[in-house]
């Protein structure tokens, strides 16, 4: 189908505007982080730093390091746990017959957890964690994030497993593999793109989330990076440059991560969008 030149020009203009609109805010964050606070508080603001200073980054690295590590521990721990638990459950749901209604109820619960407002879990979990000494610990936070990540893994992996023909399982079983060996040696390698997709989604969600860490941790023992940034924000309201630098440091790992896993991320985002 031929498209006119007018259409192509118009399309180029719109796409350019959209790209600038998407990228400019990130540039503005970077710009702010490379200025001094005195330069930030200039009216009108300058669109590039008069002279670049890295002092805000030095400040961030010396003050936020421990929270950065906490975030890494929490994100890896929760991703690992939810993928293992979720994959086992998804394999079972995709391969075996269950009593009537069992699958329906299970999928409803899983969907309900996925849809629920996080605050619904957090208020009771806060009270329970306080009584069980899980409050303000890595393990408590990992459990809490596993609750939100695992349903997503089960939901996505069930549909992935269903696409792998049952004949493969049967062939492996006839060759003398047990069920678990079949799952480990035959099915999981075939489903690895799906597992990668769910792991990427879980990792990004955990790294980026504020609310669980905000109410389930209280100090550097387990507090995650976003919570510490929020704490900084409320304490030093005019330290714009340091705040921006902390923001850059918080998003850079995921941006780098994106370069490697973009394929999986786009799939994870759009799955379910297409029947």
């Amino acid at each position: 189908m031929k498209k006119g030149r007018l259409f192509k020009t118009l399309r180029a203009i719109i796409i350019t505007i959209f790209s600038v609109w998407t990228l400019f805010p990130l540039y503005w964050l970077l710009n702010t982080s490379l200025k001094t606070n005195r330069q930030v508080l200039q009216s009108p603001p300058s669109f590039f730093p008069a002279h670049v200073v890295f002092s805000s980054y030095t400040y961030v690295f010396s003050n936020f390091g421990v929270y950065f590590v906490n975030s890494i521990i929490t994100a890896l721990g929760s991703t690992f746990l939810s993928v293992i638990v979720g994959v086992l459950a998804a394999y079972s749901l995709s391969r075996f017959k269950f009593p009537k209604g069992f699958v329906a109820i299970t999928s409803f619960i899983i969907l309900a957890v996925r849809m629920m407002l996080p605050i619904v879990f957090i208020v009771p979990l806060f009270q329970i964690f306080r009584q069980t000494n899980l409050y303000n610990t890595h393990i408590g936070l990992i459990f809490a994030y596993t609750l939100v990540n695992m349903p997503f893994v089960v939901w996505l992996m069930t549909s992935y497993f269903q696409e792998i023909p049952h004949a493969l399982d049967e062939a492996a079983l006839i060759d003398g593999c047990g069920r678990l060996k079949t799952l480990w040696a035959v099915i999981i390698p075939l489903a690895s793109p799906g597992i990668a997709t769910t792991a990427v989604m879980a990792m990004i969600f955990t790294w980026n989330d504020l609310i669980f860490g905000l109410y389930l941790t209280s100090n550097s023992q387990a507090m995650t990076l976003p919570v510490s940034i929020i704490g900084f924000l409320s304490q030093y309201q005019t330290y714009w440059s340091q705040m921006a630098a902390a923001g850059v440091v918080a998003i850079v790992p995921m941006v780098i991560f994106l370069l490697f896993v973009q394929k999986y991320l786009v799939r994870g985002l759009t799955v379910g969008g297409v029947k």
Binding site: M1, R11, I14, W21, T22, L23, P25, L26, W28, L29, Q42, S43, P44, P45, L88, S92, F96, I109, M115, M116, L117, P118, I119, V120, F121, I122, V123, P124, L125, F126, I128, F143, T146, L147, G178, R179, L180, N208, L210, I211, P226, I230, L233, W240, A244, G247, A250, I251, M254, V255, L258, Q262, L265, V266, L269, T270, G272, G273, V274, K275
Partner: protein, 287 residues
Amino acid sequence: MKADRWLRYVLLVPAFVVLLALFVYPIIYAFHSSLYTYLYGRPTGFVGFRNWGEVFGDRAFWLSILRTLIYSVIAIPIELVVGLGLALLYVDLSGRLAGILRTIVVIPFIVMPIVTGIIWKLIFLPHFGVADVIESSLGLKPLDWLGTAKGATASVIIMDFWMWIPFVFLIMLAGLQSQPDEPYEAAVVDGANPWQRFVYVTLPLLKPTILVAATLRTIDAIRIFDQVYSMTGGGPGVSTEFVSLHVAQVAFNLADFGHASVQLFIAFGVMLVLVGFFYSLIGRENV
């Protein structure tokens, strides 16, 4: 196989332990809490359903739900239309440019939401922000974005466009790319013009995708928290205190777990009704 009879449940055990310990038990716990009064975070007495009655008459709570709905009703339709429009423009673009654009589009999704809040706060800052520069270069009087109720709500919605239009775009694009060619060829043969092809072929075929996008957006819109928390903190006053922020305020600042627990159940109920509504629409489409 005989072993399978047990194995099917054994494989599900870890998942059920997680759900029981972290979902079912907390919900029961919350229901239990909803029947008690609290002072400084400690239960002070059983009051039956008094908290429930009080929350049903609590204006501040219902206003926070109304605020969330108003924001959703304004933001989501615009996001759907713009996202679809961009996907239509983009769908037969290919090559290097298409790849770069696809990377750009994913970025707002992976930026930490609280950082998104900080970025837009910097942009809307009075005197020192970009919004002021744009307004004065257009000859307008700079608005007080973050200092007024309407301005703050508008800022939240604009930030929402930045975060979520790319997401809608990706879903719509995936939907468009999976459409079969035949109906289009038939429409061309029948002499349909581009607009007719859009209305009578693309839209009907894309309806399930649009409904899914609307559902996912609605779920996330009701849950909005992080980016608002860092951008406005719910203010000025309570003008951007959406439902999650309000419940968090009652639970953690007032340490009133009794009333907060009731609010949790109501918020979830509202969510279920909305999602049920969308799913019934989607279900009808598929039958």
